[in-house]
Amino acid sequence: MQPALPLIRCQDAVRTYPMGDAAVTAVRGVTLDIVRGEYVALTGPSGCGKSTLLHLLGAVDIPSSGLVSVNGRETSAMRDREATEFRLRHIGFVFQRFYLMPTLTAAENVELPMAEAGVARRVRRARALELLGYVGLGDRSSHRPTQLSGGEQQRVAIARALANAPSLLLADEPTGELDAETGVTLLELFARLNRDGTTLVFVTHDAVVASAAQRVVRLRDGRVVSDERNR
């Protein structure tokens, strides 16, 4: 039997960026394969390079050296326009601070990526409502972010990330702004998403949260120090 082709291939990826007069190397030669359907946590202490690695995996950033390919496409070879289009079609992002547009309703926030992708208004509205229903916010579609709790806002952000049916969902500290109980609910949602076929990679500094994933990749000083699978 042929081994599954990796959705993400990261080979000796290094990312250095300037900070003031100095150069900071956040990711130091990371090699990592993630196959389709995996549920992965990138974890480690603050400043270990996990968010930078997530940006590399999400084609938001490109490595200073080494290679990152997603869905068979090398991110360094993509021009800005292509990378943006790639993110729009293939990658969903969830951020710690949700970053919902405060003056748009939940449904309008979910519609945003679909509008960018040129989906017709009626179709995108129907899908937005469907996705909000999926994340358990079917009755909150016309609420604005300020009228929603932190957990609800994060679920809207997840619905937004799923809008264009991406093959990969990336989340940066998705439970970081949530209380423990809401964090657990969110992780249950992630597990359900994964069961339904979404490849999921999230960053967390919390070992307990990380343990919810099937695979936990630990980083320290920009390097992978362990790569374990939970039972």
Binding site: Y17, S51, T52, H55, G58, V60, D61, D80, R81, T84, E85, R87, L88, R89, G92, F93, F95, Q96, R97, Y99, M101, P102, T103, L104, E108, E111, L112, P113, A115, E116, A117, R160, A161, N164, D172
Partner: protein, 400 residues
């Protein structure tokens, strides 16, 4: 969606948006007023001169109409010769003089002797026009100011006199005039009391010296194009060596030369208001973009193209400017009317002269300029927003 997002962004800080719109509205109003002022005076002068279609003014040689006390002798022959020309449609001779008014609250009035059928100096606003009759009592048309100062009404009869000796309280000639109508006199300042009576009657009252005189005449060329009017003007000056003929175009050119400093000032003030509008939009959009660095980075991360961010931010600038321009249009028209009212009170100006004249073409052009400038003002902050390196902005936000 972009429009929804732009509207939502502007609504996020309603007070700031409102203040910016008001600022742009003031700049737009000032720009509109300056455009109306720059083009208005010459336009007003043009329409004043062409009120009744007369494109040519005929004055004593070397003078401008009513610029001196000089009159043209042999008026009948000159007018007849002009009327005989197939290129001239109408000629209106005019004689101006000051006449005394007997037993009245004001001692005198400016009088215009006109031929009622061809006159182009006034328009009846109330009552009836005067007729050229042989009656003992003359027909007259008075200005509002004259009626007010006399405390008279349409239908009243007054007595006018010429050659009044103040010491002896006698006059050479006097006539009774029935005020048949109230006229709006185009070329006479509002504050000047005016009485129009038939030309022949005024000549008779002024005595033998004025029997065949006129202060000026107005002529209408049959063809109204500039070349034809100029041809008629040249012909008049060639055949009538004792008079000067001035075309409307020449008069406007002379006025424009005199007003050139005024126009330059209006142009400079207009440019300043355009600059203020530009800076206002630019400042506000820059502020808004700086506040939304993280938000914009997220938009880029989830797949909004650089062009999309650019359009989004420029749309915000254009929407701000549009709202300001719409408000500024109304504000500009109202303030122009107010300023026009103040300036028109300046003594010695013809009643029909305006400083601020609405010209739809000029107004739309200047407001369109402001709109374009507003959209361009958003360009730099928009470009900066769109060029934010996504990863760095997200990192900064996470640290911040």
């Amino acid at each position: 969606m972009r429009l929804t997002l732009a509207t939502a962004t502007l609504k996020r800080h309603p007070a700031r948006t409102l203040l910016a719109i008001l600022g742009i509205a003031v700049a737009a109003a000032l720009l509109l007023d300056m455009v109306m002022l720059a083009t208005g005076m010459s336009e007003s002068f043009r329409s004043l001169l062409l009120t009744r279609g007369y494109q040519l003014r005929i004055a004593p040689k070397g003078t401008l109409p009513f610029d001196s006390e000089a009159t043209i002798d042999g008026a009948t022959a000159i007018v007849s010769a002009l009327r005989a020309s197939p290129d001239i449609k109408a000629v209106s001779p005019i004689l101006g003089a000051t006449l005394s008014i007997l037993a009245a609250p004001i001692p005198s009035s400016f009088a215009l002797g006109l031929e009622p059928v061809v006159q182009g100096d006034y328009q009846i606003v109330h009552g009836l026009d005067m007729r050229e009759t042989g009656d003992v009592v003359l027909d007259g048309v008075a200005s509002r100011t004259l009626l007010d100062r006399l405390g008279a009404h349409i239908g009243d009869t007054i007595t006018i006199a010429s050659g009044l000796d103040a010491q002896l309280r006698t006059s050479a000639r006097s006539r009774r005039v029935v005020l048949r109508g109230e006229g709006r006199f185009f070329y006479v300042p509002d504050e000047t009391p005016v009485l129009a009576i038939p030309l022949t009657a005024l000549r008779t009252m002024l005595g033998e010296r004025y029997r065949d005189r006129m202060s000026l005449a107005m002529a209408e060329s049959r063809a109204s194009d500039s070349a034809s009017v100029e041809g008629v003007r040249t012909w008049i000056e060639r055949t009538q060596p004792r008079i000067t003929a001035i075309s409307t175009e020449t008069a406007i050119r002379q006025v424009e030369e005199r007003l050139s400093y005024f126009r330059q000032l209006a142009f400079v003030l207009g440019a300043i208001s355009l600059g203020i509008g530009f800076l206002l939009v630019s400042t506000l959009v820059t502020l808004s973009v700086n506040e939304r660095r993280g938000e914009i980075a997220v938009l880029r991360a989830i797949g909004t193209q650089t062009r999309g961010v650019l359009l989004q931010v420029m749309l915000e600038g254009a929407m701000l400017t549009s709202a300001g321009v719409i408000l500024g249009l109304g504000l500009g028209v109202v303030s122009a009317q107010w300023l026009n009212g103040i300036l028109r009170d300046f003594p010695g100006l013809p009643a029909s002269f305006d400083f601020f004249v609405w010209s739809a073409k000029a107004a739309w052009r200047s407001l369109a300029l402001l709109l374009v400038s507003g959209a361009l003002a958003g360009l730099l902050p928009a470009w900066r927003a769109a060029s934010i390196p996504v990863a760095r902005a997200l990192r900064d936000e996470a640290i911040g």
